[in-house]
């Protein structure tokens, strides 16, 4: 019996589920860094506590949401939607030829590197900074927002679509070429059908993300609901802020739903009857597709620049 006991104790001593030394060291390093950075930024417990008091007052002033200036709200929302639609259209239309030019398996290197440089440049700067530059160039208003978000769309779709084209099977390209097709026909009948599904995925994802971003570019004067939101904050109209935020969240959720329906129709060939019945299989596939770009971005090496609004 005594032997059994010591064996048990030895097992308990071993602690198979304990953290390894390396993990402990890493954890300590993170904590030390967090304390160091907090003091650098001048965080203090008093400030945090004072903030919590402000937070309670702030929340109480947000409710009930104000429904007085619904016309202002609607104007801003309509402009945001217009910015999102036009920026997506422009961005998608421009990124199509750029991606084709940037695909290394179809084009010579004198065509690929300028196309790739354009895409990298579009991706490098945050949409808000691009919006600032466009506000200076074309003045305050929705046009600056459309242009800024178009640039962001080219950066995102251009990169992912180029990669999609580079991954196609060249057998179909060869087959179409062997039939004597022109270059345009090769693109149209051998390349695009292979990447259409991916392209629809990226495009709906980008529409969704432009919808989110169109609510923000207004903060720097590029049109949309962001400007209304920013001025409501500056005038301490927190009840109106609450209305605007609730509307934005509702619209973004609707946008996600819409993107899902579009993917179901274009990718799963859902018919009207299925849509009304709510076919579960198609929906599941569409949901899996919806997150494809974000997940792909997350798990791909060196893809950090693609996202920002997943």
């Amino acid at each position: 019996m005594a032997g059994m006991n010591s064996h048990d104790e030895a097992l308990r001593e071993a602690r198979p589920f304990a953290l390894s030394g390396k993990a402990k060291l890493g954890l300590i390093a993170v904590i030390v860094y967090a304390v160091f950075a907090s003091t650098q930024l001048g965080f203090s417990w008093d400030r945090f506590q004072a903030g919590l008091g402000h937070g309670a007052r702030f929340l109480s002033r947000m409710f009930p949401p104000s429904l007085e200036r619904l016309d202002v709200l609607w104007q801003g929302i309509a402009e945001s939607l217009e910015i999102a639609v036009l920026a997506s259209t422009l961005g998608i239309l421009l990124s199509l030829p750029i991606s084709l030019l940037g695909a290394r398996n179809l084009m010579p290197s004198w065509a690929t590197w300028p196309a790739r440089a354009i895409v990298s440049l579009c991706r490098a700067l945050h949409p808000v900074i691009v919006a600032i530059i466009f506000v200076k160039a074309v003045g305050f208003g929705a046009l600056a927002g459309v242009l800024a978000l178009s640039v962001a769309s080219i950066g995102f779709i251009g990169k992912l679509f180029t990669e999609a084209i580079e991954e196609i099977s060249l057998k179909q390209v060869e087959a179409v070429r062997a039939s004597g097709a022109s270059f345009a026909n090769v693109i149209l009948y051998a390349v695009l059908p292979q990447v259409f599904a991916r392209f629809v995925g990226f495009a709906t994802y980008q529409l969704d993300s432009n919808l989110r971003n169109s609510t923000m570019v207004g903060i720097v004067g590029a049109g949309g609901i962001g400007g209304t939101l920013f001025s409501a904050f500056q005038r301490f109209d927190y009840d109106f802020v609450c209305t605007i935020l609730a509307t934005i969240i509702a619209i973004i959720m609707l946008g996600e739903l819409l993107a899902r329906v579009v993917r179901a129709i274009l990718l799963d060939n859902v018919s009207l009857a299925d849509l009304l019945r709510g076919s579960a299989g198609g929906r599941k596939h569409a949901a899996a597709n919806a997150d494809a770009p974000a997940a792909r971005t997350a798990l791909r090496p060196g893809a950090g620049t693609a996202g920002g609004d997943a």
Partner: protein, 280 residues
């Protein structure tokens, strides 16, 4: 009626009884729905173009304005880098990193609760997903505005804004990674009578570890970009320096700040590519 029987892939259905003589890729219902969809797209675009406010004079003026901008930005004010701008740059990096750490601490429980296979309570899943969607729907600039109203302007508001915006991103991708995990090791551990923490630590964690690190690294990279603009609304970091330089029309200083932001963004990307190679 052909469209009442749903045929997902017409090519595969050649064995399914009476077929029309000519091959038609889509059924009538599918074609109709596609047509309606395209029509709606075109209508949305046309409507947007018609109603959007564009002042043509501003548009004709754009090339001159751009030339003027470039003129004023050149030469870049390199001399003003030491001092406030350098400090603001370091503040930006601290905000991004601290925000990411905070976000991971808050997002992990929500992500675990959102994963259907780990948390078999439908209500908890729905609640967790709602938290994740709200976090992602509100832009980090808007989060910053909210926290400025609470904590006042400064890096504290910016850091917490970054953390709250990142919860949705990290939690969502983490929850999906957990749902994709293979159930075998988990079942084996459950059979030994392991505690929940051990099941998570030894059943799920080894499987989601690569995904976890790439999610965190990616989010840190995004946060570096975002923390650079949060200052535009007063939430600390280099954006504040950018904002004041723009307000004072010191475009040469603006150029310097833009170059700096560009540089740290590129450096952050190089860094995460390196770290990814080492960690994964």
């Amino acid at each position: 009626m052909n469209e009442t029987t749903h045929i997902p892939r017409p090519q595969a259905s050649s064995t399914a009884g009476a077929l029309p003589d000519t091959w038609i890729r889509y059924t009538r219902g599918q074609r109709l729905l596609r047509f309606v969809l395209y029509l709606l797209f075109v209508l949305a675009i046309v409507q947007s173009i018609r109603t959007i406010d564009v002042i043509p004079e501003f548009l004709y003026d754009a090339p001159t304005q751009m030339a003027d901008l470039v003129n004023r930005m050149w030469p870049v004010a390199w001399a003003s880098f030491p001092g406030t701008i350098q400090q603001a740059l370091i503040e930006t990096l601290h905000m991004a990193t601290l925000g990411t750490i905070l976000a991971v601490i808050m997002a992990v429980p929500v992500g675990l609760a959102a994963a259907g296979n780990l948390t078999p309570y439908r209500l908890v899943n729905v609640l967790a997903r709602f938290i994740l969607v709200s976090s992602r729907s509100i832009n980090s600039l808007v989060w910053a505005l909210l926290f400025i109203a609470i904590f006042g302007p400064g890096p504290l508001a910016g850091t917490i804004a970054i953390a709250f915006r990142s919860i949705g991103f990290i939690g969502k991708l983490l929850g999906e990674a957990i749902e994709d995990a293979h159930p075998g090791p988990v079942e084996a551990l459950t059979a030994t009578g392991a505690r929940t923490s051990a099941i998570i630590g030894y059943g799920y964690w080894p499987q989601i570890r690569p995904a976890f690190w790439s999610i965190v690294l990616l989010r840190w990279d995004i946060n570096v970009r975002e923390s650079a603009v949060l200052g535009l609304v007063g939430a600390g970091g280099i954006g504040m320096a950018l904002n004041s330089a723009m307000d004072l029309f010191q475009w040469d200083k603006v150029a310097l700040i833009l170059v700096l932001i560009f540089t740290i963004v590129i450096l952050a990307e190089i860094l995460i590519t390196r770290a990814r190679r080492k960690l994964l």
